[in-house]
């Protein structure tokens, strides 16, 4: 299926999450990504192309020197897919699995620095790099096209809050507020590994028998893991993010994340919330996603998303398998209204033709 033509695209951002494990699903996703990038370059040569890998780039415990070959095999296909367009820039966000045993572990930052160094070796022209770098949380601004920027955040660092590093948490939130204010006239998309809203497993969408009879279920529902939205530290991080956004007086257009292994487009309302949550975390693994308040699209299939920007409009398109072992195709697209009163619309555009 072909998404409707959006003329005058000045920049596109491809959102690919949790791609760090070898799987047939990942092969399909990365092959489609490379083809889409080629097509995008041919159709809109003047537009910018940004590929955002949303964390968990190397499962299970990040980059290990003693398993260099094995771990680089998880990373390389992502890099090669991003090279589908010669001028594409690829940014790899750190996820919880990239932080090895967790950001508060003394050796975890070594795993992050190692992945950063590997990307530098594999892409010496800086067409691909780990951002935020050096095991710090950012925020880092990445311009996409005139009037459109990404702000990249390492939420695993924020969750663990390793003491005495990178200026501390408060400094991060102050910088985020300042950055939002400084670019208040732009369309801004925040990106991190952990979502602000999701209907996936990390928000408790698991059945009672997943992972043992009512053990994992209760653990997630009660917020026992720091990686789940209900945990005290995760919910505190979300509160601080919302406060930092609210203090800036700016409503970002979106928040892109992975973490849950599904595809979700969610309209968000409320103080300090970006207008849209994009969860794109099913590049190599998949798990259930249910509809929550504001959900416009949810799927547990392998896939990824693309954000297109023209001088006047923004649009999201979801590419996914419709069944196991089938080629990806565009399954959902909608215009992203920026006016708060229009956020509830996100009319699903018809997908025309077939490919």
């Amino acid at each position: 299926m072909e998404p409707p033509v959006l003329t005058g695209i000045s920049g596109s951002v491809f959102l690919v999450g949790d791609a760090g494990i070898l799987s047939p699903g990942r092969d399909s996703v990365l092959a489609h990504l490379a083809r889409e990038l080629r097509r995008h370059e041919a159709d809109t040569p003047d537009a910018s192309r940004t590929v955002l890998f949303l964390g968990d780039n190397i499962y299970e415990v990040g980059a290990r020197e003693e398993f260099r070959t094995e771990d680089q095999q998880k990373l390389m296909p992502q890099l090669e897919a991003a090279r589908g367009a010669a001028d594409a820039r690829a940014y790899f966000l750190p996820g919880n699995h990239d932080w090895a045993m967790g950001a508060d572990h003394p050796e975890a930052v070594e795993s992050i620095r190692r992945q950063q160094a590997w990307l530098h070796e594999l892409a010496p022209d800086s067409s691909a790099r780990l951002v935020p770098a050096d095991g710090c949380p950012g925020p880092e601004l990445i311009p996409v096209s005139p009037g459109v920027s990404l702000i990249l955040i390492d939420t695993e660092w924020l969750l663990r809050g390793p003491e005495g590093t990178c200026g501390g948490e408060e400094r991060f939130y102050e910088k985020l507020t300042d950055l939002l204010r400084a670019h208040s006239k732009e369309r801004l998309v925040l990106a991190a590994h952990h979502p602000m809203a999701t209907g996936g497993a990390h928000a408790g969408n698991v059945s009672g028998l997943d992972g043992g009879p009512f053990i994992r279920y209760l653990a997630i529902k009660a917020g026992l893991s720091i990686q789940d939205l209900a945990s005290p530290r995760y919910s505190a991080m979300l509160t601080r993010l919302r406060e930092a956004i609210s203090a800036s007086g700016v409503q970002p257009l979106g928040f892109a994340a992975g973490h849950d292994h599904s595809l979700q487009v969610i309209g968000m309302t409320g103080e300090g919330q970006p207008a849209w949550q994009f969860v794109s975390g099913s590049a190599s693994k998949s798990s259930k996603a249910r509809r929550i308040e504001g959900t416009r699209y949810a799927s547990d299939q392998h896939g990824y998303m693309r954000l297109d920007f023209t001088p006047m409009a923004s649009r999201v398109t979801v590419f996914a398998q419709t069944a196991a072992d089938t080629p990806l195709r565009a399954v959902f697209t909608c215009e992203l209204a920026e006016e708060p009163e229009s956020i509830t619309t996100c009319a699903e555009a018809p997908l025309l033709g077939s490919r």
Binding site: D104, G211, R216, A219, A222, S225, A230, R233
Partner: protein, 168 residues
């Protein structure tokens, strides 16, 4: 956190051992605490284990490693199941402890939930956590009370409760 299957498998194994003891040993299940009691002990242990994991995990802001969850959950389970098994020489006392624990767990869960609602802890996770912690405390309190309370009639038989021989 993904709870390892080994913990689940261990719990199932423990239940299976209780419920499928050899027939010669099953004959000893003539005491007051039989299969239903064994199953209730498992439920008590499950509740204490969950309450322990919730109390420790949430006080830390959330477990950052799976092993932390496993150790917390497993230690609560083993402690409670072990305490119940240790009472096997006194069937009446064991029955009172096990069923007292279950009653205490139910009451504790309700009290925990009520406290969470009462102090305005609004999220579902907060309420569930409070109910599980209250339930776990209730099991321990009810079990302890049952264990130290004398029954109105003496058990005429010294028959052991569970036909379980641990190779220790």
């Amino acid at each position: 956190m993904s709870t390892p299957r080994s913990v689940t498998a261990g719990a199932f194994l423990a239940v299976a051992v209780f419920l499928t003891a050899p027939s010669a040993l099953n004959a000893q299940f003539s005491g007051p605490c039989r299969v239903g009691c064994a199953a209730t002990l498992m439920l008590d242990s499950y509740l204490v284990a969950s309450g322990t994991a919730v109390a420790i995990g949430r006080s830390m802001g959330g477990f950052s490693r799976t092993s932390q969850g496993v150790i917390s959950w497993g230690s609560g389970f083993v402690f409670t199941a072990g305490a119940g098994i240790a009472l096997q020489g006194d069937g009446n006392r064991q029955r009172r402890a096990v069923y007292g624990g279950a009653i205490g767990g139910a009451l504790g869960g309700v009290v925990g939930l009520g406290v969470a609602v009462g102090i305005g802890k609004g999220s579902a996770a907060d309420r569930l956590s409070a109910a599980l912690i209250g339930g776990g405390i209730g099991v321990l309190a009810g079990g302890a009370l049952g264990a130290i309370t004398r029954g109105s009639t003496q058990d005429p038989s010294p028959t052991p409760l569970f036909a379980l021989r641990l190779p220790l």
